[in-house]
């Protein structure tokens, strides 16, 4: 089971950031799928059941927290680890996210890509 390649889903609307994240995770040995909107993200999540989701908060139309709430209503979605990766580190948003249930809340500008990978590995054991 440990040897199995872990699947992660990146939900991020900024193409530059998405490419950087995807590149880094691919290089680090993960199977990466990506979505640029919450709507596409949740569809993909419920279909492919990734091992972990990296979720941005500010997304076109539906925002990250709304998507998270929807995800948590699903039988599978209730348990999947989610890490918020956003530059909007308002305490209100952090508390709200923590209440819905996320593993961690990372601020993009304050973490290195390597640290994001490290955090994901820690969650997936």
């Amino acid at each position: 089971m440990n040897k199995q390649i872990k699947k992660i889903l990146l939900i991020e609307d900024e193409v530059v950031l998405l490419e950087l994240l995807a590149g880094k995770f691919n290089d680090s040995g993960f199977a990466v799928t990506t979505a640029q909107s919450a709507e596409a993200g949740i569809k993909l999540a419920l279909r492919s059941h990734p091992d972990l989701i990296l979720l941005d908060l500010i997304l076109p139309k539906m925002d990250g927290l709304t998507m998270l709430k929807k995800l948590r209503k699903d039988k599978w979605g209730i348990g999947v680890p989610v890490i918020i990766l956003s530059n909007l580190n308002d305490q209100k948003k952090i508390s709200e996210a923590m209440k819905i249930g996320v593993y961690d809340f990372l601020v993009k500008s304050n973490v290195k890509l390597a640290e994001v990978v490290e955090q994901v590995r820690e969650v997936l054991g």
Binding site: N87, K92, K108, L113
Partner: protein, 506 residues
Amino acid sequence: MSHLLGYLSLFKILPEPTVITDASLSIVYINPALEKLSGYKFSEVKGKNPNIFKSGKTPPRVYQALHRALIGGKSFTTKEMINKRKDGSLYQINSSYVPIKEAGKSAFYIQIQHDITEQKKAETELAEHAARLEALNRSLKEEFVKGEALLESIGDGVIAMDKKGAIIALNKKTEVIFGWKTKNMLGKSVFTEFKLADEQGKIIPKDMRPIQLALTTAQVGHGIYFLVKKGVEKIPLFITSAPVILDGIVVGAVNIYRNVSQQVAIDRAKDDFLYFASHTLRTPLSAVAWSIERLNEDGQNFSVEQKKSLNRIYDQTQKMIQLTNDLLDVTRMEFGILSYKYEEANPLMIAADLIADLKNRIKDKKITFNFTSGKDIKTYKTYSNAIYIILHNLLSNAVKFTPIGGKVSLKISNTEKELVLQVSDSGVGIPKTAQARIFQKMYRAHNVRDKFEGSGLGLYITSGIINHMGGKITVKSKLGQGTTFTVVLPFALEIIQSRQAESLQL
């Protein structure tokens, strides 16, 4: 006298007080009713003149008229004569005088009295009561005028309503806010005359409106609601709804409506700015920083010169990120919305987290780091992220301003009522003249201005937060030898008003 005596038994049981005198006005009889009224026994007044009952308060003309009538052998009736009891107290009577003739001459006079003391007292009371009512009515009218003036002078809309929500009174400002005319609104229900919505525009049901809380639970309700005008326009109102309670029963309520459009607009501008700084500014910075990180992963492909350039770009990007972060913290603090997280926290755990975050920088500079703590540092309810920011700023300054191979130490202790944080370094020190100014916004001492990166915001934010928490910060420093900052934070915290906390209440 002879035939009169036959009547004595009748007088005896007559409820009207009665006195009989002879022609020379000597009392020959008083009945038990008069004994009772006057307090005199018959034996005490027998043979005396009836003026023994005079109080002196009855006008003399009454007696003169009586005298004339009696001399003329006529009956006479007096009204409201005031007599005196044995004990000196007064009573009022109406009385009828009847002369009894024997052999054509008045031989006896019978006076039958009607005690009107109670009646007069009642009349007086009635008059007094009427006067009081009149005065009350006058003062009520005055109060009403005053109340009306007060109501009109209030800058907020005020509606008074009965317990069903029917409008009793409203002021000019209410007319302005709602676009009403008072005369059209009296008696109408506040529930049907206007709609309230939440921020998203969802109509608030009747049971959830603040007035319902006031009317049903007798509590004061308040909050920000949006008045829906003409179906589209939304006006933010801060509504306070207070019950009017009479003898423990809610008889109505008074609502106060404050138009908070301006405050809401300001709050929105603040939010927009914070959104811009945190998201819009930091997103491209993240992209640059991450791109360089990726480039550096293939470090061997670059020349020394190229690597140097890459590091320079990376450092400058980090500097920009730090400036943006400081700008965010400073703005949040100055807006009073620095998000304080009030929770059970242990300062030692916060410090441990922080030290882990700074581990690499401490290692890079070969700094000897020393962490000591008191034995009984307990978990308590506090603003955990505020403590984190304070320690973060002080420790990262200490690391920054301490040369390679220097020493930095953190000591956490407590007194009975306070938490004490002490950060010491063997760094460049702060010139004496600068020590008083280092907590000012964007101030940077001349000995670090050119050699070290910084915004001059860190200590400003730190001291601002410490002030918010009711604590204090002091500094001891010797140029070239090092600096010690001591922060004292009371365990019992003043509640920090952040907008988040308020909006949770609303």
